[in-house]
Amino acid sequence: MKRLLPFLACAVLLASDEAKKPASSEPLVPPGIEVDDHTLEVLRRINSVGPYEVPDIRLRRETSYAKTPVDYEPFGKIKPYKEHFLEQMQYNGPGRAIPEPEDVKTVKIGFIGPIMSTVSIATGGASHEEPLGIKMLQGARLAIEEANAKGGYLRRKVPFELVVTNDNGLWGSTGNEVANFLYRNPVWAILGTIDSANSHIAIRVALKGEIVVMNTGDTDPTYIETNIPWTMRCIGDDRQMGYLMVDYMIRKMDYKRIAIIRASNRYGRFGVREIRDSARRLGRPVVIEMAYKLGQDDYSLQIDRIADVKPDVIVHWGDAREAAIILKQIRERGMKQPFLTSDRAVTKEFLQIAGEHAEGVIAGYPWNPDAPNPRYAEFRERFRKRFNDEPDTYAAHAYDGMNMLIWAIQVAGLNRAKIRDILATRIKPWPGVTGDIPFSAVLDDAGEVYLARFENGRWRYYSREDLQIPRGYVPMRERTARELLTQAETK
């Protein structure tokens, strides 16, 4: 049924006799830009409305939020009064009626990410995000260069221009940078960021200033839990990875005592939230959660406390450097518990520091770089040639996110609201180098997430099916509309 939904939506949209045809005989979309009938119909509708109208572009509606199994639902034994995030947010403002400007020499797209070494408060007074941000920039840049090699913005035959800015300064500088994107060096859409505090600031400004922010590197679940119609993300989030890790630890491996050690920044705090809550809801509350300050070298205090509670498994959430040092110190004192960590550990830096201890480490991962995807193989080749280096997850997702923005600009033209509409109403998954990217109602990447396991000197990526990890029951009706389930139904 799920596969039929896009086609049904498309059929309903096409069947409406309210559809307006373009007055001009010019093609709606420049030749060479791939576009399906559904998107063409959306384009006709958004092109036909005046400043006071809101087009009927069929908002998505889902039956459960984030495919959450019933036994992971908060307050699962109670029917909530109101459930959010099931129906897609519409943009109801007049922005679609703003005409495309005539005097365009380049089509500017904003990039905001951690690309300079700073002392960001948001990241705890220290940061290891610059290498990630630079990779993100490289992926975005490659997409821009390739689009320009194909003729740039095809309607006007002008190039795309990447407007690059750093977001890793004092907490709040991201807001100033996005304001600059709105008023001082205007761009048509924005790609960024990685740190979740900075991402939240960016999207608040974007909401009021009415501009798309495509996130490609922030896996904080709450990023899209803000009801902002301008925000989207093309990378799997920590909620999905957390569910998979808990399913692995409890439903498959039957670990009974889970310990958590995490960074004391926002990434650590929010990253483990779904793991902690889901474990508790399955009746296996986390036995200890220890936080550490970023940049520490000695974690003996935290590890002492964790050792005292004799855990079956240890989960870490933080950056690669800390993951590796903590793992080493755990192993050096003879603790042999399985070590699970976040996707940020899947880096060269982690392996260099962790050395032989990396063997057997498992990390949540938002995609599968080993999947037989010719798009990724070709991208990897081009990336290596351009930057003389391997792409990583940040580069690959930025490449996908930037290509989504470029595609939407080519289809919609130079109008921020229409760029949003084209992306928000896309019903086919985006064919990315990171795999197919389907959007949920909150415009989050609803695609599959994976577990990466370091085996015999390399990371291998496993899907839920590969490892035969059971999952809980995901109901097909929203919580407020269904009766409370019996114990048997939740199995």
Binding site: P74, F75, F85, G172, V178, L182, H200, N227, R479
Partner: protein
Amino acid sequence: MKPAAILLAIGMMSSALAAEPGAEKLPFVYTKWKQFTVKDGLPDDHIYAVKSDGHRIWVGTDHGLALIDKRTAKVVRVWTEKDGLPWPSITGIDVDPKTGDVWLALFGGGLARLSGGRFDHWHQLNSGLVNDVVYGVAVENDNVWAATTAGASRYNTVTGEWTIFTEKNAPMEEIWNYGVHYRDGKVHLAVWGSGVLEYDVKTNRWKDYLDPDGEMEIDLYRDDGIVHVITTGANYVDNVLWVSSYFGVCRYDGRNWRGFYNMDSGLPSDFNNNLRARSGREAWFASDKGLGAIMDAETNTWVAYTRDPKSDSGKAVVMRDKTVLETIEMGLNVPHNFIIAIDVDDKDVFVATAKGLAWGIGEGYYSGLRERPRMLAENRRDEK
């Protein structure tokens, strides 16, 4: 006659009386409106802020500040960057009642004061302003509060002292301040991700109001507290706290909370950019689908003002809970259904929308409900 039959007869008579036109208690409905757009002299149609100040209406737009004189109903002055305005976009306005100074929250440009025809400018590099993205500004006695994207700043206009409030010295789980309001000795901050924070000026103490279920994706019980932790505005009037959010709105009278959603009230949409409370019983909400006014909190009686997207007309729908009591067709009321900010005075209402400003003229305004004929306009129609 049996007692039950007597009661039934009395009940039927009561129902008949209640249904009689003229016997119903209904709220005041604004039927006279003026609109202002670029055609009327505004520097931009996209309005972020409005402030009523005696016979003046200050209007903050995406590209400039404007002043409307209520006596002539004309735009009498406009300031853009060419005129010394330090930043084009104005997201909040307040007026110092002692000095008449006009304080402006600049969306990326910091804080400005228009005083004696001159702009003064405060930003991160020349003051204690914690961030240049300022969403709201409020004058509290000699202090000016700024709600910024990285905390709140307080500027003492007499001593020149700045105080910064962040997670270090205030109960801010997140520091993304969105709205600020001062009244009756309390400053209220609407903080995106931290609910509402209350600062008692006398005691210098903070109090926080957080969503009691602690979850982003649900509201567990109705009326159990703030509807969501992401808040957009908070007003404190008559010892009542009104709160707006992108997930519904709510009211707290010091003892009981009451939540309002589109599904159980006359609120046009759950996505609310801001609010302005006139009293403990009446508040106005800036939704993305029209202007929603709860005119009598006790009975959940609302009036929703919307524009017909295809014509120069609008309507007001009077609702109690989700029951439509009457629909009044009228000329243009709000110029656009995407409402961003509101201000009220004793009887008038001023509405900033994404495409123009509306001024609702409250001739004959009354608070709460009154028995009145349900015939407000010749072309009204019942939709009971």
